[in-house]
Structures are given as structure tokens and as C-alpha cells.
């Protein structure tokens, strides 16, 4: 089972993307998935977590995610030295930042960074980075195919938002893929 933990603030779409990834896996790759938020009241701006579990067989484990394979950080103001807690050994943190060197102090996990905010501002005109971060995660992990992620966006988002978010997804995907090839 692959477990992903999404870090964002209320209103940034971090749970939407947790669900989108689950949907991409379940509906478009026939792989069972669960997606759930950190339970409780929802407040704009407050730190929130989202979780996606994906497996090749039916997932019945409904306990909290203790150790994740990937942590994806939509908002870098949430980063402190504790953020790597609960990431598996050899796990990966994917960070939205224009200054990856700031996080060199995070030890023990693989780090991938992308300036998702710039991509989102350029294409969407708004700093909503969830689909960019999904593109980065998909490129870094191969958890689902790019095609399944695109279908997930088409299925999940309002039709008026689909085209530009698919563009965001592909841009982020290619950026991370490009860096990995270097």
C-alpha cells in the first residue's frame, strides 16, 4: 500500500487533490483507494492534512496513516523540522518552493521541490497549487499515470477549470521529470 500525506491550509485544495488522486487510481486504473481529510472542523487558512491510500487490493484498514511514503507540501509556511515525522525511511517529501536550499536541513528523506506557486499564478492567475503538486508527485512517484491524473481532473473539477488545471498538471509533471533526468 502506498500512503500519501498532503499538507496545506484550508482553502488551498489540499483535500480536493487527495481525493483527486484517489479517484484517479480507483476509477481510471482500477486500483482501490481511500481518501480522507484530517477529521474535524474546517477553517480557511488553518493547517489541514489530507490522506490518500492506494493499493492493489481492497483497502479495509481505516486507521490513521502512521507512516507515509510521500508527503506533499502545498504551502511552505507549514514547514518546520517536525514535518518529516511520519514519513517512511526512503520516503519522499515534495515541497512547493522557489528556494529549495532553505530546506536542506530536512534529513533522512528524499526531497523534491517545485515552484508550483509560479506555475499556478502564470496559468491559473491564482496561487492554487494543488494540481501542480499532483503533477510533481505523479512525476516523482509514478503512483498513477499522467493519463489517469488528467482523467481525475476532468472528472473532479468544474468543466471551466479543467483545461487550465490539466496544463498546470502537465507543466509541473514535465518540470520534475526533466530534473530527474539530469
Amino acid at each position: 500500500m502506498i500512503e500519501v500525506r498532503w499538507h496545506g491550509r484550508g482553502g488551498q485544495g489540499s483535500f480536493t487533490v487527495a481525493r483527486l488522486l484517489g479517484k484517479a487510481a480507483a476509477l481510471f486504473e482500477n486500483r482501490p483507494a481511500l481518501a480522507f481529510p484530517s477529521f474535524g472542523p474546517e477553517r480557511r487558512g488553518a493547517p489541514v492534512l489530507g490522506f490518500t491510500k492506494i493499493d492493489d487490493k481492497k483497502i479495509t484498514d481505516r486507521s490513521e496513516v502512521v507512516a507515509c511514503d510521500y508527503a506533499v507540501v502545498l504551502d511552505e509556511t507549514l514547514i518546520n523540522e517536525k514535518i518529516t515525522n511520519g514519513i517512511k525511511e526512503n520516503g519522499t517529501i515534495v515541497i512547493n518552493t522557489a528556494h529549495p536550499e532553505k530546506y536542506d536541513y530536512l534529513n533522512g528523506v528524499n526531497q523534491i521541490s517545485i515552484d508550483a506557486t509560479s506555475i499556478a499564478l502564470e496559468i491559473l492567475g491564482r496561487p492554487i497549487t494543488n494540481t501542480a503538486m499532483l503533477g510533481a508527485l505523479v512525476a516523482a512517484s509514478g503512483i498513477v499515470s499522467l493519463e489517469a491524473a488528467i482523467k481525475g481532473i476532468e472528472n473532479e473539477l468544474k468543466p471551466s477549470l479543467v483545461e487550465k488545471n490539466v496544463e498546470v498538471l502537465k507543466r509541473a509533471y514535465n518540470e520534475v521529470k526533466g530534473e530527474n533526468h539530469e
Binding site: K23, L34, A35, F39, T60, D61
Partner: protein, 397 residues
Amino acid sequence: MTEKNRYFVSGDEAVALGTRLARPHVISAYPITPQTIVVERLSEMVEDGSLKAEFMHVESEHSAISAAMGVSSVGARSFTATSSQGLLYMAEGLHYASGGRFPVVMMNANRATALPWSIFGDLRDSLSQLDSGWIQVYVEDAQEALDMMIQAYKIAEHKKVLTPFMVNLDGFVLTHTYEEVEVPDQEMVDQFLPPFETPNKMSIEKPMNMGFSTSPADNMEFKFQQHKAMMDSIAVIKEVDQEYGDMIGRYYNGMIDTYQCDDAEVILMTLGSVTGTARVVVDALRAKGLKVGLLKIRYMRPFPEKEIQEVVKNAKVIGVLDKDISFGFEGTIYTNVNSALVRMQSHPQSYNFVAGMGGRDVSKADIEEMFMDLLHAAKGEEIERVKFINMGVEING
């Protein structure tokens, strides 16, 4: 299964999808966390015309259940949904509905009861209403939730049953977790669940007295009939489960479900979504050669006495996981299970684990601890009779 019939939805949304397929005439409900999304989705379905029903924005849960009884009394199909404090606010109406033999169907999102205030999940709300005369089923995942909304009407409206029906989902862990469900075709559901027909309704052609008073001369007979209907519902529950499986393709094994119980020395009993987590733990312990099994209690009323007795007869020790406590005694599920056990000629020893109250996570390690305790007891070691799992304070410490 065509692609259009597969949805990635939350437990609450699965309830709304299942309810729509059952074609209720009237929905009367008051929103409360974590049930809210059920009511939101149903109101959207009524608004967009995909559900031809009247949506009543009632001012309280007491009114929600009252309206639902009114709907039922004219022979129409009603739906309501609530949780926790809302269920408790309905309590008077719960007895009224069962006594009046109104086959109302309700979804309840299991949530802790105040005080202290908590919006998170446990079973103290519905278990405190075990004696209200409602059938109570507890589901494990979103698919079972969807399927049981449809089965609920068929069972509740059966002429031998005519008893209200409560479908319970664990708050948040189930209501707010998204997963894939398969949604049956409307035509198939229509075939399975024909329109509600009852001779007991307000009618100009055949006027009758409903919701009346009784005297000591006849009250007990009414209560006996209520009891008998609930006992008779066990056979109906099994028939309906079979018929649903034959038509739609999913069976839930009636009153209880079992996992790896055949040769199990120790068996843990669970309700609801924590059963899924326990399945994983059973697999892990079986891989180590430990003879552990799992019994999922689906219905708390009627209670699966015979079914439990049959499964546990060869076990040495059983445990009951309660996400509740009856203050001053023990977990309510445990009390019920014990009552079934003592009617056996010889029965396994039983132990109680109180866990997961107020939304506390029940981890795989917690469940493993329960199984290990039971295995120790099976070897004759002494373990606590009622144990609170994963708690931060000491009792009498």
C-alpha cells in the same frame, strides 16, 4: 459493471446515492456534523430533479422524526438522517415511530455524546437507543452503506416487520472517507424494492384509528407484537440479504459476518468500520500461525444471538470491542454478547475492550494488543475483564 456506475464518494454521499435509488417521497432532516453531507446531497438531488421528493427543512430533529411518521402514516416512503445530539433530541419520537409501526428509514452518523462536546465518532449515541424499538444495522464501508439504504426499506416495510430502521455509519472514519462504490441501476432497484404498500394508513376509503391510547388491558399486547415483529425480522433480514445479493451481486451474510473463525481459538467481535482494520490485523497474526478470528456484528437489534452462539461454540476466548461504555458497568455490546453466551451449554470466556471513544484512532497495534490479551487468556493467564485501550490516564492510579 459499466464505468458510469462507479463513483468515488464519501460514506455520506454513498448514503445519499442509495437513498435516492429507494425513491423516498419525503425527506425531513436537520443537518448535524458528521451527517450534514447526506442532507446536502439529497437537497441538491431534489433541486436538480434527479430525486422526485419533497424536501422538508424542519426546525429540529424532533420535527424531523415527527414529519417522517406523518409521511409513513399515509403510506408514503420517508427518509431522515441525524447524529449524536440530534438522535437524542429525537428520542421521544423514536419510541413513537416504533410503537406506531411506521417503517421510517434513518441514517445515523455515529458520534460521541456531550459533555464534553465532541463532533467525533463513537457509538454512545445509537447504543443508548437500543431499547427504542428500531432495527439497528452498523455498516463497514461506503458500499455497504449504499446497499443497506436500499435493503433497509425492504426490511422495514415488510408486512411481518413494519418497524423503523436505523443505518449506522461511523462518524468521519466512514462518513467522510472517500472510496469507490458501485451504484446499481435504478431499474434493478425498482424491481428489488417495489413501492411501499401497507393496509395501515390514513385513508378516506378505509378509515382507521392510528396513534391511539391504550389501557392496561391491552398495552402489553401491543408491546408484545412489537417485540415479535422485531424477532420475526431476523428471517426477513436474511431473505432480503439473499435476494439483494442474487439481484445486485453483493451479499452481507445477514445478521453477522465472520472472518477466519472456523478454527479460531480466540475471536474478536466488532461493529462498523473498525472491522476493516481488524481484518488486516487478523491476516498479520494468521501469517504468524496464531489462530485468531473476527466476528462482525451487523445488527444490534434484533440481536444475532443464535448466529453468535454458532460461531463461537468452539472458541476458547472471545473479546468484544466497544466504542462506548455504559457508565458503572461495561460496554453495551459486551453486555449483549454475554447474554447470548450464557444461554449456551458451555461457552467461551469473554473480555471487553473499550476503545476509540470520542474519535480516538483505533490502530492496528491497538487491535493486536486485544488479540494478544485474548491469546494470553486462552492459555489460562489472567487478563483485565474490561480494559480501556490506548488511554492517557490511569484508573485508580
